[in-house]
């Protein structure tokens, strides 16, 4: 994994993504007493992945709230708090269970600013671990970013490394709009990198060019980023690798700029292909960049099925599938 580092006037610590997120929450809560964390097991237990570890000790149970078992309640409670001037950070223990809160998300959270013409705004960040990696079967491995991306009014963010995780989370907390913050659980403990201990932000509306190359643009985000980067390195692909960071609204300029240069495009997501996020990236290019394209736009994605417990490893994209697609695209004349 190639990470970029920020050194200099900040003290940095080598952190996992979990630690970086924890550090972000700590920084934010310290600066702003309107921030409230809530969710199942986020308090005393510190979250099932430990993202909220120890925060209840520092900030008390009025700000780090163990809730009853209801995602509808967790999201709705957060919405109410944020309507009343607080800034709620609800956690959904696994993305797979967020569907029980879908009405709150689609009907209330996403629409509140628009339907009231800004009478009410909703500064809140809904965090949830998503995608595979823990081999948890159909209900612990789903991605589901497409449900949120297609919901007008939401901002959908997903980091791919500890540094971004902290900076993007802190940026999300500066928005006056609701954010769905998707944390790739396969990257929670996948490696450490230097992360400033102090507060900093990463621009939400800018994609990150992780690798530069002339032959092909590989567009990806979140859980699929390390796989793509490893594949590119290992196979010496001369590729632009674009990490979207924010799925909606995505950084159209970064994508167009790269595609104009390379004229060949692959999109890689861990979530399934059909009607997924990759479709919009491709469709946007088919609208705005058709004349630049010298090959079909291909997509490598999770299979279009629920995630089978025993066979998760065959469900997710892998190096071979990426290389097959890259070769097809590169050989296309």
């Amino acid at each position: 994994m190639v990470y970029y580092r920020r050194k200099g006037r900040f003290a940095v610590t080598s952190m996992t993504m979990v630690k970086a997120l924890n550090s972000a929450l700590d920084n934010a809560m310290e600066r702003d007493d309107s921030i409230i964390l809530l969710g199942e097991d986020v308090g005393v237990d510190g979250g099932v992945f430990r993202v909220t570890d120890n925060l209840i000790k520092k900030y008390g149970s009025a700000r780090v709230m163990d809730t009853p078992l209801s995602e509808l309640g967790i999201v709705g409670f957060g919405i109410g708090m944020s309507m009343a001037g607080l800034r709620a950070i609800p956690e959904i223990q696994f993305q797979d269970f967020i569907y029980t809160a879908m009405d709150q998300i689609i009907s209330q959270m996403a629409k509140l600013r628009y339907r009231t013409n800004g009478d009410y705004t909703l500064p809140m960040v809904l965090r949830t671990p998503y995608a595979g990696g823990v081999h948890g079967g159909p209900y612990h491995s789903q991605s589901g970013e497409e449900y949120f991306a297609t919901t007008q009014g939401l901002t959908v963010v997903t980091p791919s490394n500890p540094y971004d995780a902290k900076g993007l989370l802190l940026s999300s907390l500066n928005l006056n709009d609701p954010v769905i913050f998707l944390e790739p659980k396969r990257l929670y403990y996948a490696g450490k990198m230097d992360v400033p201990d102090d507060y900093y932000t990463v621009d939400l509306r800018k994609a990150k060019l992780l690798n530069e190359g002339d032959d092909i643009s590989i567009i990806t985000y979140g859980p699929a980023v390390p796989l793509v980067m490893n594949t590119v390195k290992k196979n010496n692909i001369n590729a632009d690798v674009i990490d979207l960071r924010t799925i909606n609204p995505f950084d159209i300029d970064a994508i167009l700029k790269s595609v104009q240069k390379t004229t060949r495009v692959l999109i890689v997501t861990e979530s399934p292909k059909m009607f997924g996020v990759s479709a919009e990236i491709s469709a946007t290019l088919a609208e705005k960049a058709i004349d630049y394209l010298s090959a079909p736009i291909l997509r490598v994605a999770g299979l279009d099925i629920p995630i089978p417990f025993a066979l998760e490893d065959y469900y997710v994209p892998n190096e071979k599938r990426i290389m097959n697609a890259v070769n097809k695209i590169m050989q296309y004349r």
Binding site: F77, M81, L86, T116, D119
Partner: protein
């Protein structure tokens, strides 16, 4: 029997005037909707005493998250009539630019939540607001209203549970009008549904499952509604409470509904349980009202409401160029692109 009360005669008389205003306006707005001046309308008949009682009960420091049938509450709260009417007629002056349906008010500066069409979709929001106010040690209670049908929803259960668990300053006020569109809360003689029985329908008793108490009040008696609700708001720092107000939806569910398909109208205008008749009886017994005064108020209201309706029927509609505003604080590139499509 004369009700004891701690409000002045003047206030009671004024409340009565608002109640009549709601009744008269309701008829005129229903009419406006039938003539196409209002694309949609939610009738209020039968709910007036609950609304006026709630409006009386709410103090400046309280917060209310209403549902879609609470026009009269705002009237009694003293919200400027222009604010109310601009919303109902979705005019250019509406603070939400006519984006929500009629009676879907959103008035943050008056401590009023943003009414949502989804039945019970606001109950958790009200619960969160109650938490925030408790956290910030803000004086006053939070009240939220909903219908009898709403008690079957997921949101009702979850909001009641959270309110109980965190002991929130929250009054759950159920406007039980006997129906969720065509489905009765209690069985009726014609036995049109076998879905409900009285014991299952004791809505106020459901509070016990969540560790706090529920009470039932006469929703056709605005003074009873007022007193119980005010008390609940004053006490709500100690515990949440559920109030079930018994009333009857005298009109159709909405302008799209034909109640003849599913019920005989048991409570009609002018009958004993009509909130207007109940209110007249109450205030006459208190010597606040007599037949002359009743007639005088009726005439005044008839006149003022006609003028209002006329004015707002003709009011300018929102500019189409506003349609893409305020989805996000910072506009995404595709919204900017779509501005071109409007031209």
């Amino acid at each position: 029997m004369i009700e004891e009360t701690d409000i002045s005669d003047e206030k009671l008389l004024n409340a009565y005037k608002n109640l009549i205003m709601e009744r008269v306006m309701d008829k005129k707005m229903l009419n406006a909707s039938r003539q196409g001046f209002l694309p949609f309308y939610i009738p209020l008949m039968g709910h007036e005493a609950m609304h006026i009682g709630l409006g009386l009960a709410l103090r400046k420091q309280d917060f209310i998250y209403p549902y879609y049938r609470d026009f009269g509450v705002l009237l009694q709260m003293g919200i400027p009539i222009d604010t109310i009417m601009s919303q109902v007629f979705a005019t250019a002056n509406d603070n939400a630019l006519g984006r929500a349906m009629p009676d879907h008010f959103s008035l943050k500066k008056y401590n009023i939540g943003a009414v949502i069409t989804t039945v019970a979709g606001h109950l958790m929001s009200a619960t969160g607001i109650a938490y925030a106010r408790k956290y910030r040690e803000i004086d006053g209670g939070v009240l939220t209203t909903f219908g009898d049908g709403a008690t079957s929803t997921p949101d009702f259960h979850v909001a009641m549970n959270f309110a109980g668990v965190y002991n929130l300053p929250l009054v759950f006020f159920c406007e039980n009008n006997g129906f969720a569109i065509s489905v009765p809360t209690y069985p009726n003689e014609s036995g049109q549904t076998d879905a409900y029985e009285e014991t299952k329908g004791m809505i106020y008793k459901k509070a016990e499952a969540y560790g706090f108490s529920g009470i039932r009040v006469d929703g056709t008696n605005f003074i009873e509604v007022y007193k119980n609700t005010r008390k609940a708001l004053e006490n709500s720092n100690n515990t949440p409470i559920l109030i079930e107000a018994m009333s009857y939806r005298m009109g159709p569910h909405s302008t799209a509904d034909d109640p003849n398909k599913y019920r005989k109208n048991d409570v009609t205008e002018g009958s004993e349980k009509d909130p207007v008749i109940v209110s007249q009886r109450l205030l006459k017994e208190m010597n606040i009202l007599d037949d002359n005064k009743i007639k005088e108020i009726e005439d005044e209201t008839e006149d003022s409401s006609s003028k209002l309706i006329n004015k707002y029927e003709k009011a300018a509609k929102p500019d189409k160029n506003t349609i893409l505003d305020n989805l996000y604080e910072e506009e995404p590139w595709y919204i900017t692109e779509e501005r071109g499509d409007l031209q």
